[in-house]
Amino acid sequence: MTAYIGRRLLQMIPLMFGISLVLFALIQAAPGGPEGALLQGGRMVDARMLDAYRHRLGVDKPVPEQYVRWLGAALSGHLGVSYSSSQPVSKMILERLPATLELMGVSFLLAALAAIALGIFSAVKQYSAFDFLGTGFSFLGIAMPVFWFALILQMVFGVWLKWLPISGTHTVGATSFSDHMEHLVLPAAVLSLRYIAGWSRYLRSSLLGVLRADYVRTARAKGLPERVVVGVHAVRNALIPVVSVMALNLADLFSGAVITETVFAWPGIGRMFVQAMLARDYPLLMGILLLGSVMVLIFNLVADVVYAALDPRIRYD
C-alpha cells in the first residue's frame, strides 16, 4: 500500500506540470490585465501610468517568458509575489487556508452525518412517506441556488431571530469557542446541504442492494434483531462505495466554498480567488488554482485508499 501511495504521489508531479501550463495559458489569455485594478471604485488614474504598472509587474513580457519566471518562483516554494498586496503568494494562501479547511471539514462531517442517517432510513423504509420527504428535503440542497439559500438563512437566523451571527469567523474582541461555532453554523449548513442528497441517495441504493444479499438474509434467519442486522452488517458494507464517493466530493467542496465564503465573508481562499480574478492577480490565481488541483488529486488518492482499506477484496500494490 505504501508503495502504491508513493507511486501515485510521484505520478502527480508531471500531472501538476501539465496543469500549471494549461492554467497559466488560460489565465494569461483572459482579456483584461492587472492594471485594471488601479481603476477600482472609479478612481481617476493617469491612463499612461497603467502601462508603467504593467511593465513593473512584467506582464508586458511574452507569456512563455513569464511562465518560466513563474515556474522558477513556484519551484523555489513561495509561488511568486502577489500583484495587489506585494506579499509572497504562499504566505497569503497559508494565512487563509485554515479557514477554508475548517469550513470544508465541518461541512463534510455535517453532510456525512445527515446523509448516512437519511440514507439508512430511506433504504429501510423504501417508498415510505419518509423516504420521499427525506429525498425531497435533500434535493432542496441541490436545487436551491446557494447564494439565495444563504441570504434567506441570514435573514431568518440573523436578522429576524437574532440567533446567529451573519458573517465572519468570530466577534472581534470577544473570542470564545462557542462564539466561533456560532459563526460557523450558517456557512457550514449552506455548504453541507448540497452534498446530503447525493450521498444519501447513493447510500440508499447501496444499502438496498446489500439488504438483499445472502449474508444479510442469513443474519436475519439466525434471528438477530433487525437493528443489529441493519446497523452492524448491512450498513458497514453499504458504506464502502459511499465513502469513496464522499472523498471524491471533498474536492468539489472546495468549489462550493468559493460562493459560500463570498456570501458569508468567511476569510478563506475561495473568496480570495474571486478577488484575485477581478484584479487579474496572476501569481495569486495560479497559486490558488494549483492548490485546488493538488487537493483534488489528493482527495482522489484518499478515495482510492479508503476504498481499498474498507473493502477487503481490493488490494493495490
Binding site: F147, W148, S205, V258, V274, L289, V296
Partner: protein, 285 residues
C-alpha cells in the same frame, strides 16, 4: 416479470412510469418548459417593456408576479428567463454528455495508448477545481447564452467519460460485439449501434442531472457577476438582481428562485426515477 421481452427503452419507460415522483416531475418539467417555449405567445407584455412609473410593484391581477426594478412584468421576464436557463441547461448537458460519451467510448473501445492519452487529458481536466475554472473562463467572452452553455458543457464531460469508458470496456468483448465484428461492421458502427445503446442508462441519468446542475451553475455565476447579463433575462440573473431588495420586495426573488427550485427538483427526481428504472439492484421488490 412475465411480460414478453421489450426493447430497452420500453422497459425503462415501463419502470419509470411506476416511479410516481419521477412522473410528476416529468409532467411539471414539460409544462414549465412548454410555457417558457411559448413565452412570445402567452407572455402578457414584451419582455423589455420598461415602465419607470411602476417599478417593483407587488403581484396583482395586472402583473401576476409583480414588476421588477425597471417596471417590467416579472411573469414575462420569468417566462423568457426560463427559455434561456432551460436552453443553457439542455445545451450544456448535451454538449458535456456528448463529449464525455465520445471520449469515453474512444478510450474504452480502442484501449492502449489512445486510452491512456485520453484518460490523462480527463485527469487534468478533472483535477482543476470546476467553479474557479468556470470563473476564469466566464471572463473570456461577452457573457452570452451560447458561450455560457459551451463553458458549462466543457467542464462537465469528465464524469461521463469515465463512466462510459468503464461500460465500453466491459462490453467490447461481449459476444454480440464479437459477432458484429466478425460480420465486418466498422468500429464506428460497432460503437454506435452495439455498444453505446447498452450503456445508455448511465448516460441518460448523467445528462438529466447535468441539466439541473447547469441551471444552478449559471445562477452561481450570476451571483459572481459572470453569468448571462441583462437585458437578457435568465432565472439566475433575475434572482441575483433582485437580492438587494429581497427584504422589501420579496416576490422579486421568490418567483425566479422558485422557478429554479422547481425545475431543478423535477430534473433530479426524474434522474432518480431513471436511476431506479435502470438499476436492477434498486428495483422495487
Amino acid at each position: 416479470m412475465t411480460d414478453e421481452p421489450r426493447s430497452p427503452a420500453a422497459e425503462i419507460w415501463r419502470q419509470l412510469r411506476r416511479h410516481k415522483p419521477a412522473m410528476v416531475s416529468l409532467v411539471v418539467f414539460l409544462v414549465i418548459a412548454a410555457a417558457c417555449l411559448a413565452a412570445p405567445v402567452i407572455a402578457p407584455y414584451p419582455f423589455d417593456a420598461i415602465n419607470l412609473t411602476g417599478i417593483r410593484q407587488a403581484p396583482s391581477l395586472h402583473h401576476l408576479m409583480g414588476t421588477d426594478d425597471l417596471g417590467r412584468d416579472l411573469f414575462t421576464r420569468v417566462l423568457y428567463g426560463g427559455r434561456i436557463s432551460i436552453l443553457i441547461g439542455i445545451l450544456s448537458a448535451v454538449l458535456g454528455t456528448g463529449l464525455g460519451t465520445l471520449v469515453g467510448a474512444l478510450a474504452g473501445y480502442y484501449g492502449g495508448r489512445i486510452d491512456s492519452l485520453l484518460m490523462r487529458v480527463t485527469d487534468v481536466a478533472y483535477a482543476i477545481p470546476a467553479l474557479p475554472l468556470l470563473i476564469v473562463l466566464a471572463s473570456y467572452t461577452q457573457a452570452g447564452v451560447g458561450s455560457m452553455a459551451v463553458i458549462i458543457g466543457l467542464l462537465s464531460w469528465m464524469g461521463t467519460a469515465r463512466v462510459v469508458r468503464g461500460e465500453v470496456l466491459s462490453l467490447r468483448s461481449a459476444v454480440f460485439v464479437e459477432a458484429a465484428r466478425a460480420l465486418g461492421a466498422s468500429s464506428g458502427r460497432i460503437i454506435g449501434r452495439h455498444i453505446l445503446p447498452n450503456a445508455v442508462g448511465p448516460i441518460v441519468v448523467g445528462a438529466t442531472l447535468a441539466v439541473g446542475n447547469a441551471i444552478i451553475v449559471e445562477s452561481s455565476l450570476s451571483f459572481l457577476g459572470l453569468g448571462v447579463q441583462p437585458p437578457i433575462p435568465t432565472w439566475g440573473n433575475l434572482l441575483q438582481d433582485a437580492t438587494s431588495t429581497m427584504a422589501t420586495n420579496p416576490w422579486l426573488t421568490i418567483f425566479p428562485g422558485l422557478a429554479i427550485l422547481v425545475v431543478v427538483l423535477a430534473v433530479n427526481f426524474l434522474g432518480d426515477g431513471l436511476q431506479d428504472a435502470l438499476d436492477p439492484t434498486g428495483r422495487s421488490t
